[in-house]
């Protein structure tokens, strides 16, 4: 028999490949980022020095972003972006429920809904820019409808500047995120749904429960762990919204998000310390949201 310490060694050996990779590409950058947030980084010299009293003290970067309107705006937009989370979760669950049956051709639908997920975001962005354009598909389609129902006539057109008008641009970008992410969460929910034993549902049908009740009283509680996972993932994704913005609006029209601020500070202003500090603040918000979600959906022990 082997003793327990050699078991531990073997276990760590198995973990090693993943741990080493994560160490290099995840833990070390996170650690160094935290370090940078409290330092003044000079690219020309390649040195980071502790933020001294002259620079405004140890927390100088945090003080700066605390007082900066642009960062507040960015953070507000990122938090507003969270609105996409409940929408996408509910829609994905309903969609998973719909494709979770044995009708012929169902694989086709499952695959179709998944296509946006595997489409490169830059390519999808170009396509959506055409949809949202001033004389683009969406306005064209709406014009057709308004003519059909008789609101407009002649050469009147629906002219909504979907990604140019600061009042609605952020929501337009959110719709893009919704479309892009829906299939991913649908697949996760599908896996969760298939783990529900058929007997439970059958018993409920025998007891006379209708589809509405069965959805809320059986499906939802039984996929709760999946809901937690998906909500967590999509919350983090929403807080990190950046690529969507850069491909659609480049941060114009009040769609500037927190990570866009981080990017701008690092690669436009070359202020890596400030970027790191702003990144930490975003991480902090992600963690708070994660804690809240564990409270809501987590198993009570």
């Amino acid at each position: 028999m082997k003793n327990s310490s050699s078991y531990t060694t073997v276990a760590y050996l198995f973990l090693a490949p993943a741990l080493i990779l994560m160490g290099i590409f995840t833990f070390w950058p996170v650690g160094y980022n935290t370090y940078l947030a409290f330092h003044i980084y000079d690219i020309a010299e390649g040195t980071a020095r502790v933020a001294s009293a002259e620079d405004g003290g140890y927390f100088t970067h945090f003080k700066y972003i605390y007082g900066e309107d642009l960062f507040h705006q960015a953070l507000k937009n990122s938090l507003l972006y969270l609105l996409v989370v409940p929408c996408i979760q509910l829609a994905a669950l309903v969609m998973a429920k719909l494709v979770n049956n044995k009708l012929p051709g169902m694989t086709f639908f499952r695959a179709t809904y998944y296509i946006p997920v595997i489409t490169a975001i830059s390519v999808a962005g170009v396509a959506w820019a055409f949809v949202y354009k001033f004389d683009g598909m969406l306005n064209g389609f709406l014009t057709w409808i308004t003519h059909f129902v008789g609101i407009h006539s002649g050469f009147e057109k629906v002219e909504i500047d979907w990604i140019g008008n600061p009042d609605i641009a952020l929501y337009s970008v959110m719709v893009f995120t919704f479309w892009k992410g829906l299939g991913y969460y649908m697949v996760l929910y599908l896996a969760g749904l298939q783990a529900i034993p058929a007997e439970v549902e059958e018993a409920a049908i025998l007891d006379g429960a209708n589809a509405w009740d069965r959805f809320w009283k059986i499906t939802v509680p039984m996929v709760k762990p999946t809901i937690l996972l998906c909500t967590l993932l999509s919350t983090i994704a929403a807080m990190k919204a950046f690529q969507e913005v850069i491909v659609l609006t480049k941060g114009q029209s009040d769609t500037y998000t927190a990570l866009f601020y981080v990017y701008d500070q690092a690669f436009r202003n070359y202020n890596f310390g400030r970027a790191a500090a702003a990144g930490l603040v975003v991480t902090f918000f992600c963690m708070i949201l994660a804690v809240i979600q564990f409270r809501f959906f987590g198993e009570k022990k």
């Binding site: 690219i43 020309a44 642009l70 009040d254 690669f267």
Partner: protein, 417 residues
């Protein structure tokens, strides 16, 4: 015999060692071009070989770095101390790098030959009072217009000033329903102020809320309102402008001659009715849309003299002409620009050839219109662009918008001190 052999071998060995020692004495100068491979491999390799053949102290090594990775790689190189001898920067990056002291001034080294470059280019490579680069290739915008739409609208000739241009755009819109002109607005408005000879900063204060600045923004706002410039103009980049022009949705746009090549292949009918004119010079005494690439020496390179020597060769008349011919861009030396190659198309009926000649004449005055040295570029440019967009699209008055942006700029500028 044996002795003879060994002596011979010894001599050969000795000779070889001397030669290799000499070879080792050559200073290696690595130089990084910006996204030129693989399209321009042939000309770059040729230039490298020719330079190396002419030198016995300096050896050039060509490396190409992609645009997206370029800034990050230069930053990393400077931070780690392993720097190339020359890096190929566009003018705005040169300013940023000079501001962060990541490249070194070469004013002394170029003093003897700097007058071969055009005035505009030389002004572009100057930051503060120092020269930070050797001007290389450049592009400039010329004005392309749809002659069909012009004649339908009754516009007789190509505009000679910005006001005439906007008036023509309005006339086209009124008579044909097509937007007359798509000005380049997607990457900021600062360039338009500079084009019109209006400074943004004076004595460390933002001055772009003066009546003259307000008037310029109001001109664009009026054009936006009456539809003479398209409603999604702020989203229109290079690709979108060409697409709109090719499909007859705009009557005029300004770009380099390379843009029109796309019209030639994608929209033959539009190409046939395309007229070409120089972009009218504003009070800034420069056409719009100029962009210069140059060679700078990164901080930490040991032998600045050797690097400048290579730079001088790369930016010489002959080498610039070779590169310009291969890439349909323009050189930045006076002599190369006067070459028959660029002027050949002046009387041609073909729009691309004509555009080349027009641009070559204009480009001597061409400046890269950019504002640099800001303490918080990201936030300041964003604020200015957002406010101008709000003013042009009619959500705010021009005065209000520029005042708001100037307030933020002054706050940032004051904080720097």
């Amino acid at each position: 015999m044996k002795i003879k052999h060994s002596v011979l071998a010894g001599v050969a060995l000795f000779a070889a060692s001397i030669m290799s020692a000499q070879a080792a004495e050559k200073v290696k100068v690595e130089y990084w071009s910006n996204s030129l491979s693989p399209k321009f491999d042939a000309v770059m390799k040729d230039l490298t070989t020719k330079f190396n053949a002419s030198q016995n102290q300096v050896e050039a090594v060509w490396v190409d770095v992609a645009w997206d990775a370029f800034q990050a790689r230069v930053v990393t190189a400077v931070a780690s101390g392993k720097v190339p001898g020359l890096v190929n920067l566009p003018k705005p990056w040169m300013d940023e790098f000079a501001q962060k002291k990541m490249i070194v001034p070469v004013t002394k080294e170029v003093a003897s030959f700097k007058n071969v470059y055009t005035k505009g280019a030389l002004a572009d490579v100057t930051y503060g009072n120092e020269i930070y680069g050797l001007p290389w290739y450049q592009v400039t915008a010329v004005l392309f217009y749809n002659k069909d739409l012009f004649s339908k609208a009754g516009v007789k000739e190509a505009p000679k000033s910005l006001d005439q241009l906007l008036a023509a755009a309005k006339q086209v819109k009124e008579k044909t329903g097509v937007s007359g002109f798509a000005p380049k607005l997607n990457d900021g408005f600062a360039g338009w102020f500079l084009y019109d000879g209006l400074p943004l900063i004076k004595d460390n204060k933002a001055v772009f809320n003066s009546p003259a600045h307000v008037k310029l923004v109001e001109k664009f706002a009026a054009a936006y309102k009456d539809g003479s410039i398209p409603k999604d103009v702020f989203k229109m980049g290079f690709e979108e402008q060409i697409a709109a022009y090719n499909s007859g949705k705009i009557a005029m746009f300004a770009e380099g001659a390379h843009a029109l090549k796309r019209t030639q292949t994608d929209a033959k009918k539009i190409y046939e009715v395309t007229g070409v004119a120089g972009f009218p010079q504003g009070a800034g005494k420069t056409p719009f849309g100029g962009f210069l690439f140059l060679w700078s020496v990164p901080k930490g390179f040991k032998d600045v003299g050797a690097a400048v020597k290579l730079g001088q060769y790369l930016t010489s008349d002959e080498a610039q002409l070779a590169f310009a011919k291969a890439s349909s861009t323009f050189p930045s030396t006076n002599k190369a620009l006067d070459d028959a190659f660029f002027q050949a198309g002046a009387k041609s009926a073909d729009p691309v050839e004509q555009a080349t000649a027009v641009a070559a004449t204009n480009i001597k005055a061409s400046r890269t219109l950019t504002i640099s040295g800001l303490p918080d570029e990201a936030a300041m440019n964003k604020k200015l662009n957002d406010e101008v967009e709000a003013a042009v699209t009619g959500r705010k008055s021009a005065k209000e918008a520029l005042d708001a942006a100037a307030a933020l700029w002054n706050e940032k500028l004051a904080a720097k001190k």
